[in-house]
């Protein structure tokens, strides 16, 4: 049995952003979605790049360069997508978050909503 890579909270956010952006997952867009998920925290582009590199080193995501586009000064985008191991790691991390949530609710009762519910970009 192969060892499952464990992920931290910020890595969970970045993986979730890649998953939700599907074919449009590249640096700027991933940072935008991570910022929406991490409200009220502001996340820098540098932190997102470092995490993307780490996730790629853990072989949880794959990346490729697109064709250069004139609106980016003729520069390419690096697109990202989850692979099977990344999906498993995210599922496992979500399961753990659920257990944490249930344990806290068990002690504190139903947790109040904070008013920031995330929706996919096309439903805003």
């Amino acid at each position: 049995m192969t060892k499952q890579a464990s992920i931290g909270q910020f890595e969970q956010l970045v993986l979730t952003a890649i998953l939700s952006l599907q074919d449009d997952a590249y640096g700027v867009k991933i940072r935008g979605t991570v910022n929406e998920l991490a409200v009220p925290k502001k996340i820098s582009l540098g932190a997102v790049y470092a995490t993307l590199d780490r996730l790629e080193d853990k072989r949880l995501i794959e990346s490729w360069l697109s064709q250069p586009t004139p609106e980016r000064g003729g520069r390419s985008k690096r697109h990202y997508r989850l692979n099977a191991a990344g999906e498993r790691a995210l599922q496992e991390s979500i399961e753990m978050s659920r257990r944490v949530f249930a344990a806290v609710e068990h002690r504190w009762g139903k947790l109040p909503g904070r008013g920031h519910r995330w929706k996919p970009a096309d439903q805003h």
Binding site: R72, G73, R75
Partner: protein, 338 residues
């Protein structure tokens, strides 16, 4: 309308961002900025993260630590040979040493995009010149420092050439067994090269200390340690050496070869206390006895540390043998598919 940076600003950004990520990072900066000031702010916040990320990926923490240890030891040995009194050169060597270690890590991080293991040549030359400049300022003999850094640079080039030879193979299958066998042998070659370089450094350090030893017991300890190092290097390059994967062999032949080779290396890892740690024990005991006469307190502090290091090395090798056992099981399962 996205912001288009001026040619000068883009050149500045290109020089600060490692080539491996310059394409998409500069594109993202242009897309997310609406003015020069925003572009500059984003560039300043992004550069440390992307440089650090490339240092971690391309130089690796293990590589930096190895470079730091090998450079520090080599500089001290070379400078010790040139000035036996060793008049405070240990502290003065810190600046060229730090510049060399940091510069090498940055040269690796700024290596060409299409060659993940290659270094930035300009960065290498600048690092060497800056280290020599620091040596001049610190009042160290520049020729000796240049010789020491050349020895380290040569060793690093040799290692990087070995590492560049083969990328990790795809998952194990009957189609990829040849690639796995070659990868394994290359890892053994690399391990033996690293250990041999480290052994030569330890040998040289003992040779230097032999000249300064005051008592016959201390001199004997250095001689016995050098014999131990010689034995380990000889063993690594004979009994524990890598072997050539049969050229043009069919799948069953390569499969058997790979399994037998892994079993051979596993058995050697289990015997590490005898052929790798054992040869150092007589020399270490003599050294402890020699030091006991001058500083018993130092021995009492040093003894548990040395014991801990020996146990740690043993544990690492036991773990390595267990990992190889797992790989052997996988190859055995593959043999059933034939």
């Amino acid at each position: 309308m996205p912001y288009a940076p001026s040619r000068g600003l883009e050149r500045l950004a290109e020089s600060l961002v490692p080539p491996a990520c310059v394409e998409h990072v500069l594109g993202d900066l242009a897309e997310s900025s609406d003015a020069r000031s925003a572009y500059l702010r984003s560039l300043v916040s992004v550069v440390p993260s992307v440089v650090w990320s490339q240092v971690r990926r391309r130089a690796t923490f293990g590589g930096i630590a190895f470079n730091a240890v090998i450079t520090g030891t080599t500089l001290l040995i070379f400078l010790g040979f040139s000035s036996p009194a060793g008049s405070g050169s240990g502290l003065r060597v810190a600046a060229p040493w730090a510049i060399w270690v940091v510069g090498c890590a940055l040269a690796a991080a700024f290596g060409p995009r299409d060659k993940p293991r290659a270094w930035n040549r300009t960065g290498c030359i600048a690092t060497a010149l800056a280290s020599l400049g620091a040596a001049v300022i610190a009042g160290l003999p520049v020729i000796i420092v240049a010789l020491a850094l050349s020895a380290v640079g040569g060793s690093l080039l040799l290692l990087s050439w070995q590492l560049r030879k083969h990328a990790p193979p795809p998952p194990l299958s009957l189609d990829t067994i040849g690639a796995h066998a070659r990868f394994f042998q290359n890892r053994i070659r690399l391990r033996n090269l690293c250990e041999s370089i480290a052994g030569i450094v330890v040998f040289a350090a003992n040779l230097r200390d032999l000249g300064h030893a005051q008592t016959s017991l201390a001199r004997a300890s250095h001689w016995v340690l050098m014999i131990g190092v010689f034995f380990v290097i000889a063993f690594l390059n004979s009994r524990a050496r890598a072997r050539q994967v049969p050229i043009g062999g069919d799948v069953p032949t390569i499969l058997r070869f790979h399994r037998d080779e892994m079993a051979r290396q596993r058995d050697l890892l289990r015997l590490v206390p005898w052929w790798y740690l054992g040869p150092f024990v007589p020399g270490m005991l003599l050294m402890i006895a020699a030091r006991w006469q001058t500083s018993a307190a130092a021995v009492l502090v040093g003894l548990p540390v040395i014991g801990g290091v020996f146990l740690f090395v043993w544990w690492l090798n036991v773990k390595g043998a267990l990992l190889l056992d797992g790989e052997i099981h996988k190859v055995n399962a593959l043999e059933g598919e034939l």
